[in-house]
Symmetry: C2
Subunit: 158 residues, 2 copies
C-alpha cells in the first residue's frame, strides 16, 4: 500500500498545477490514490465554490475530474509498466479532451468523492472515466482523454 498520493510523486516541475500541485499554495491540492483497480480522491469545496447558494460550481467539478483523471492516467501507466511512481523517467499526462455530464445539482458543504476507472490504455493515451459523488449519489460523470507529455517537452518547461 502506497500512502503517498499520485500527485506527491510528481517531480517538482510538474507540481505547480492549480488543481493538484503540492507546491501551488493557492491551488486545490487534490490527492488521488489507488483503491483496487479504481482510483479515489476526496475534496471538500470551500464555501465560495458555489454555483448558487447551496450548490457546487460546475467549473470546480470539471477541475476535480480533470486532475483526478490525469493523475489516474499517470498511475495506470506506471502500473502497466510494472513500475513504482517514484521511478524515472517520470510519466506525466495532460488533458486532450474533457467531457462532463452534470446529472444533478451537487450539494455544497459536504465531502465529495471522485472515483476513476481506467477505460483504455493505448500507446501514449489513457482514457479515464471519473464519477463525482456527494452523500453516496453520483452527481457528475466525466471522461478524460489524457496523453503522455513527451519528456523533451517537460524539460523545455511545457
Amino acid at each position: 500500500m502506497d500512502n503517498k498520493a499520485f500527485q506527491d510523486h510528481y517531480p517538482e516541475d510538474y507540481s505547480q498545477c492549480y488543481g493538484c500541485g503540492r507546491l501551488n499554495p493557492n491551488g486545490l491540492q487534490i490527492k488521488s490514490y489507488w483503491d483496487g483497480d479504481e482510483t479515489v480522491a476526496a475534496f471538500t469545496p470551500r464555501p465560495y465554490h458555489m454555483a448558487m447558494p447551496g450548490f457546487v460550481y460546475g467549473g470546480l467539478i470539471a477541475s476535480l475530474i480533470d486532475c483526478h483523471s490525469t493523475g489516474s492516467a499517470a498511475a495506470a501507466a506506471y502500473r502497466a509498466d510494472g513500475r513504482q511512481m517514484d521511478t524515472e523517467p517520470a510519466l506525466r499526462f495532460v488533458t486532450a479532451s474533457l467531457k462532463v455530464d452534470y446529472l444533478r445539482p451537487t450539494p455544497l458543504g459536504v465531502r465529495l468523492e471522485l472515483r476513476g476507472r481506467i477505460k483504455e490504455i493505448k500507446g501514449r493515451k489513457v482514457v479515464v472515466e471519473t464519477t463525482l459523488s456527494a452523500d453516496g449519489r453520483v452527481c457528475a460523470r466525466g471522461e478524460v482523454v489524457a496523453v503522455q507529455l513527451p519528456e523533451k517537452m517537460r524539460t523545455a518547461g511545457v
Copy 2:
C-alpha cells in the same frame, strides 16, 4: 449597445457563482457581451492559475468556457424572446454537459479571449460553442449544453 455584461443583469440570487457572479468576491467574475451574433469575454488568468510553469490550468479553461457559455445561452434566450436581459421573468441557464478539446497549450500571462456561437435553441435547451484564444490562436474549443432553470427551482434556492 448594452454596456452591461450579461452577468450584470442576473438577479442577486444568481450572482454568487464562483465563475461569473458579480457578488462572489473570491470568484473569477467573468463578463460576457454580444459582438454581433457572437458573444465575447476576456480574462487574464492569475499567475497561480498554471498547469505547469508558463501554461494555463485546463480546469480554469473549462470554467471560463462553462460560464461564458451559460451566460451566452441566457442572452440568446432573451434575444430569441425579443426581450431585454433586465426584464422578468429572469432566464438563467445551468450546464447539462460540457465538452472541452484542448488543442494546444495555453500560454500564461496574456489576456485570453472567449468567443461563443449559438449553435441551437430548442425549447429550454441552448447549445453554445465557445473557443478560447490566446494571441489570436485558438487553444481550446468547447461545447456546452445549457438548460433553463425552472423558475420554481430558482425560488427554492436551487
